[in-house]
């Protein structure tokens, strides 16, 4: 089976520039441009979040589309399901805004559209080759890869760091 690509975060690289948030909000706006997005109501919202941990760590937080997705199983309306591509998706029409998914998400990545009284979340940009946030990240803190490719890359970096550590 083809392994689907996922969004991975390399926290050590993030500088907290929030480009990903902006790109995400624009990608999920009606006008699809920053300029148009600014004047839309309700204001287009990002579906990932860059938070700070004192003193100086920026942490991009993005939906993992968890394997055993607690939100999906907890949903009392059957509004959350998994697509064949592995994306956990909230069906807006079915969502009743009970916020049970917010109560069980251990990452805090489910947003609430107060005007529409609906929950929303990362949809991994189904119409784009690469999700908007990943595209926008200037330091490649966000990467879009298969789990295998990502951990292979990580192992390589680790062994590289080990070697340079031995030298130094």
């Amino acid at each position: 089976m083809n392994q689907p690509k996922e969004i991975f975060v390399r926290i050590d690289r993030c500088m907290g520039c929030h480009s990903c948030e902006v790109a995400c909000a624009v990608a999920h706006s009606a006008g699809q441009s920053l300029y148009a997005a600014l004047s839309e109501t309700p204001t287009p919202k990002p579906r990932l979040y860059v938070e700070w941990v004192a003193p100086d760590t920026a942490v991009p937080i993005v939906c993992r589309h968890c394997e055993d997705a607690p939100c999906m199983h907890a949903c009392i309306a059957g509004a959350i399901s998994r697509t064949p591509g592995g994306v956990v998706m909230t069906d807006k029409d079915k969502c009743i805004g009970c916020w049970t998914c917010v109560m069980v998400c251990p990452y805090g990545v489910i947003g609430r559209h107060l005007e529409e009284h609906k929950a929303y979340r990362c949809d991994r940009c189904p119409d784009r080759e690469v999700p908007a946030c990943v595209d926008a990240c200037p330091v490649k803190s966000l990467v879009y890869q298969t789990a295998t490719a990502f951990s292979r890359g990580k192992r390589r970096t680790a062994s590289h760091e080990l070697q340079s550590g031995q030298k130094g």
Binding site: I11, Y49, E51, W52, V53, T57, V59, I61, P70, M72, H73, A74, C75, I76, A77, G78, A79, I80, S81, R82, K94, I96, G97, C98, W99, T100, V102, M103, V104, C105, P106, Y107, G108, V109, I110, R112, H117
Partner: protein, 419 residues
């Protein structure tokens, strides 16, 4: 190996979650689900929308929605399980059928608790909203109703009350406790919600209860309260909690203590029989106390765990908080979880309120662990607080963020890396 025969009694949250989990783990066994309801499995918490007519019944069925997509689950509707013949490993139904099983799940849920002290329950127009069929009937009765009286101030009755309000009916809520939602918060914590309910047009009478229900040929005509007051109405809804459906079980053969008693693998006291959901006794992971919950979320989690165990994949059920509710009533979202009743206890509590939001965080008396949280108005990141409670984390340096409602996943991540 012969393929296993799985039989599930009850086709709702616990039963269907188990059926799907079994299918995930064992593609070859036969899975049969019995339900005494005439309707195919549906999302029970959606039934108030039948009353309000905001959703059609067709939008409520479980199969093909959310995680309920497994094939090869045989459903037998309108069939009631009457008895477990444990030595012969057979289930006996009201149709006289005997069904052999290799693994059996009891997922018969619960039914409304009808208080003994009320007379006149037989009148038409008296409801306790539990099944889709109840909701259909209530929706019809609503057509000839201008006033309704709700007995009980819990979440279910509030949802039903709003469904009726949306139909243009005048609704009075009769609450025995000092305030609404007394299972989910203390009176002082409910101020914002109470104000929102009042503004939404709900009439609420606290500190009183119904003595009898009046009626005649055309059904209910009123409710007489214990203080003598009479409330004219054409409809009464009883929302006084639920009771596990255990009476079909032989309490001499299987251990029942209010609900079906199970071990940490959701296994009941007789061989190859499991139980999950509203009918099962579970335990609170914070206090360890045995509890029976009436929660969809818990029924699914427990059902999935039971399904895995039945299919031969040992899986431990982690218990659940007795209180674990999220909802929005009268445009006021709230989440209540864990230990939130603190009057007369030693728990360390932090309450903070503003014009449109309120929160209460409850820590162990030494202040080291979070044991409960209530958010009203702003429920941001409630799931992280649930995790902190459930994992019994030492809150350490995160305490400020917890109390200020600023906790985000980055804090947990960095705390883990440091710790």
């Amino acid at each position: 190996m012969e393929s296993r025969r799985y039989v599930i009694v009850g086709g709702s949250a616990a039963g269907m979650a188990a059926a799907v989990a079994i299918r995930d783990h064992d593609p070859h066994g036969s899975v049969r689900v019995l339900s005494d309801e005439a309707d195919a499995p549906y999302f029970r918490p959606l039934i108030p929308f039948v009353v309000s007519r905001k959703k059609s019944v067709a939008d409520m069925f479980l199969r093909g929605r959310g995680p309920y997509r497994a094939q090869g689950i045989e459903l037998s509707l309108g069939v009631r399980a009457e008895r477990i013949d444990s030595p012969a490993r057979r289930l006996v139904t009201d149709h006289g059928e005997t069904i052999p099983y290799d693994r059996l799940l009891i997922a018969t849920g619960s039914r409304p608790n009808i208080p003994a002290g009320i007379s006149g329950l037989e009148h038409q127009g008296v409801f306790a909203l539990r099944t889709l069929e109840d909701a259909r009937q209530a929706a019809r009765r609503a057509e000839e109703t201008t006033r309704a009286v709700m007995l009980g101030g819990g979440l279910l009755n509030l949802k039903a009350a709003f469904a009726l309000l949306e139909r243009g009916i005048e609704v009075t809520l009769v609450v025995y406790s000092a305030e609404v939602l007394s299972q989910l918060m203390e009176p002082a914590d409910a101020l914002l919600i109470r104000r929102a309910l009042d503004q939404a047009g709900l009439r609420i009478l606290t500190g009183c209860s119904a003595g009898h229900i009046l009626g005649g040929d055309r059904g209910v005509s009123g409710v007489v309260l214990d203080d003598g007051r009479e409330l004219p109405c054409q409809m009464v809804c009883i929302g006084k909690g639920v009771r596990p459906n255990t009476e079909w079980l032989d309490a001499g053969a299987i251990k029942v203590d209010r609900g079906v008693v199970v071990d940490k693998h959701t296994h009941a006291s007789i061989p190859d029989v499991y139980a999950a959901g509203d009918v099962a006794v579970t335990y609170d992971p914070i206090t360890g106390a045995p509890i029976i919950t009436g929660l969809w979320t818990n029924a699914v989690e427990m059902g999935r765990c039971a399904g895995a165990n039945m299919a031969g994949y040992p899986s431990v059920y982690g218990g659940t908080f007795g209180v674990l509710n999220a909802t929005q009533v009268a445009r006021m979202p709230f989440v209540s979880m864990g230990i939130v009743h603190t009057a007369g206890t030693e728990y360390e509590t932090w309450c903070r309120g503003s014009a449109d939001a309120y929160r209460k965080l409850v820590f162990t008396p030494d202040g080291d662990r979070l044991v409960g949280a209530l958010f009203v108005g702003d429920i941001t990141n409630a799931g992280l607080y649930r995790l902190v409670i459930r994992e019994r984390m030492q809150v350490g340096g995160m305490k400020r963020q917890l109390v200020d409602h600023r906790l985000h996943y980055g804090h947990l991540l960095c705390a883990r890396d440091r710790g």
